[in-house]
Amino acid sequence: MARDPKIIEDRATPIKKEWEEYARKGNWTVKGYEMVRALSGPGLEEQCKEEDFMVVYRPHGVLYHHSYGLVSKFFKGLIERQLYGTKCPKCKTVYCPPRVHCWNPDCRVADTEWMELPLRGKVHTFSVMLFSADAFLEMLPFVLAYVQIDGAHTAIPIQVVTAPTEVFIGQKVNIKFRQKRTGDLMDIYAVPVKGQKTPSDSCLHRDEKNVKDLNRDMENTYAFLDKRFGIKKKDVEKRWKV
């Protein structure tokens, strides 16, 4: 007889209750409408004609339950302040993000083995985000980096908490855990190891105009943060002094 799945740790019940309300509110029913006079037609603007359109507003709020599958150990590890990777016993590749099955065709989907990884790595590449999706707007401006954890062969996406004008490829970083951890990659962040010199060939730094322009446009981001969330520039800069 099949064994039923059993909840062995419950950190979700209050959340499920809270989200019931959102599901009720966000149930695709029309909450309001506008009448909009706008151009209609396939051709150029001058060939289009004005029509009146009814535009309705419908919300959609849902709570998914999603299994992390066999890499659950990695995410539970984050909550418990441990960083895990996996290693293929055949080709010895170390994966972080972990794969429980090796993707090397020679290894024929071999089962990998879990291993603890050090809380150190280096920046493989990065981007400085001055705009982002809704969930991340309050964190702007931030550095989205792909960091290769020491001992791993692949790179993991992670935010580097630093002044965005100071990040470079090859930068050594320490991995830190956030105070509040929920079980996703945002539970960790990277901070540059102190005392490193920016290499003269860093693609962000080899032309000083790059840094100047980045500073100029970060001011726009600060203005947005202040207007939308009341977050001040000095609060943002405080985040980077960890």
């Binding site: 706008a38 396939p42 535009v55 999706a133 062969h153 790179a155 990659l185 945002m186 060939d201």
Partner: protein, 429 residues
């Protein structure tokens, strides 16, 4: 392989814009109507199969929208389905129709594509699109394709030395092409004035190294193509555009996994050797997080079928699927217009400019013409059809963009961060 030839017979469009208020099925219907005007001899009942492409169900709170569209234009009863693969959606749509015709299954297929992307706010649109990235991993840490692509470009820039100015040159080129394309969103929003590098530098950085101008547009629009066998081409048009070769390829889902990419390991040895000596080599040096392996794999297949050995010389123009300007630069390399690392010289020397040896993105491309995801490659293919048929003046009311005696063209498509994609080679004869 079957020796049946397959052609794009023609197509129609519904002008894309940031926000349109005709809804998707109406937009597609108008594009279809626009197409029918070019085919007075075609009885719509003759169409044997209808293939649709749109990218996202989230954007419009509607699954299976293809069923709405197919019946709205009275093309139901016959077979049809949706093809979907992120940004590669419309290219795959064309390729799939090509297979169906080439196999002998059908002689005449209607290919529809659309996307309505402004029903949610811009940040949410970006979030929905980014849910095509791995939501357990990459999405969690930035949730925005601009960020992933910017990180890829940073890597290429560090390895091969292109500059912000090179990205600016591409952005300026594409806008100065788009001002001659009245269907382009750039022209609709900014008029017909030329832009310069100075203007580019004033533009806002979104995700360094990318400014807003370097990034794909958000669009609502529809496009359709009529595809057929030789028999249909003969009967229905005097200027078919033939498909001479197609190729498909893929890269890993998560870009960070490309540092040890066993599927690519040792496959492209020449490119692995072109890895700069002063940078620590990852286990797999090509494509790494710098180039696009899917494009190389696709191009190899497509060139072999089309008998192309020197793409730069043999191809007359390109409409690339480049949602970011660094992707365009990398594609010059991965499509073998130049060796790896030389993409920057293609733009610096004007090779890819209008009037250059291989002009790219004469339409304006995804950053200046339009990018309604499920229709983008259809728009680019329709534009190429007008080019090879010598119809640019007729269709755009301006002959500036017409490449004289254009005989061969290339287009590409891809989804994700190059996770899946393809190449098509078109020819006039």
């Amino acid at each position: 392989m079957s020796d049946r030839r397959v052609a794009i017979l023609g197509g129609g469009l519904y002008r894309p814009g940031r926000v349109r208020y005709d809804n998707a099925e109406e937009g597609v219907a108008m594009a279809y109507k626009n197409m029918l005007e070019d085919f007075p001899k075609l009885d719509p009942r003759e169409i044997e199969f209808v293939q649709s492409s749109y990218f996202s169900d989230h954007l419009n709170q509607q699954l299976c929208m293809a069923w709405i569209v197919q019946d709205y234009i009275g093309q139901h009863r016959k077979g049809g389905y949706r093809v979907e693969a992120g940004g590669s959606t419309p290219l795959d749509n064309i390729i799939n129709a090509y297979y169906l015709i080439k196999s002998g299954q059908y002689d005449l297929i209607l290919v529809l594509g659309w996307e309505w992307m402004s029903e949610v706010d811009t940040a949410t649109t970006n979030e929905f699109i980014a849910s095509a990235s791995d939501t357990d991993w990459d999405f969690t840490v930035g949730g925005f394709y601009n960020g992933y692509y910017a990180a890829l470009e940073t890597r290429h820039m560090q390895l091969y030395g292109e500059t912000i100015e090179d990205l600016g040159r591409i952005a300026v080129k594409n806008r100065n092409n788009a001002i001659h394309n009245p269907f382009s969103q750039w022209r609709a929003e900014h008029g017909t004035g030329r832009v310069t590098l100075d203007d580019y530098y004033k533009d806002r950085i979104i995700a360094w190294p990318y400014r807003r101008w370097n990034c794909a547009l958000i669009s609502e629009g529809a496009c359709c193509l009529l595809m057929g066998s030789e028999k249909m081409a003969k009967r229905l048009t005097s200027h078919p555009m033939w498909i001479e070769g197609v190729g498909l390829g893929s890269d890993s889902m998560r870009p960070g996994d490309r540092l040890v990419d066993w599927a690519y390991h040792g496959v492209h040895k020449a490119d692995e050797r072109l890895y700069p000596a002063n940078v620590e080599k990852p286990k797999t040096p090509y494509p790494e997080m710098a180039n696009f392996g899917f494009a190389r794999e696709s191009a190899k297949q497509a060139y072999a079928q089309a008998g192309i050995s020197d793409p730069l010389k043999e191809i007359d123009l390109a409409e690339l699927f480049a949602p970011y300007d660094g992707v365009e630069l990398c594609l010059y390399e991965d499509l073998m217009f130049c060796p790896r690392g030389e993409g920057k010289t293609m733009i610096r020397q004007g090779v890819v400019e209008r009037g250059g040896e291989l002009p790219c993105q004469l339409s304006g491309g995804l950053t200046a013409f339009t990018h309604p995801v499920g229709a983008t490659s259809l728009f680019q293919t329709l534009f190429l059809h007008w080019q090879l048929a010598g119809l640019i003046k007729k269709k755009l009311g301006d002959a500036t963009l017409q490449v004289k005696n254009a005989k061969k063209a290339i287009t590409t498509g891809h989804g994700g961060t190059g996770c899946q994609g393809g190449v098509i080679i078109y020819s006039k004869d």
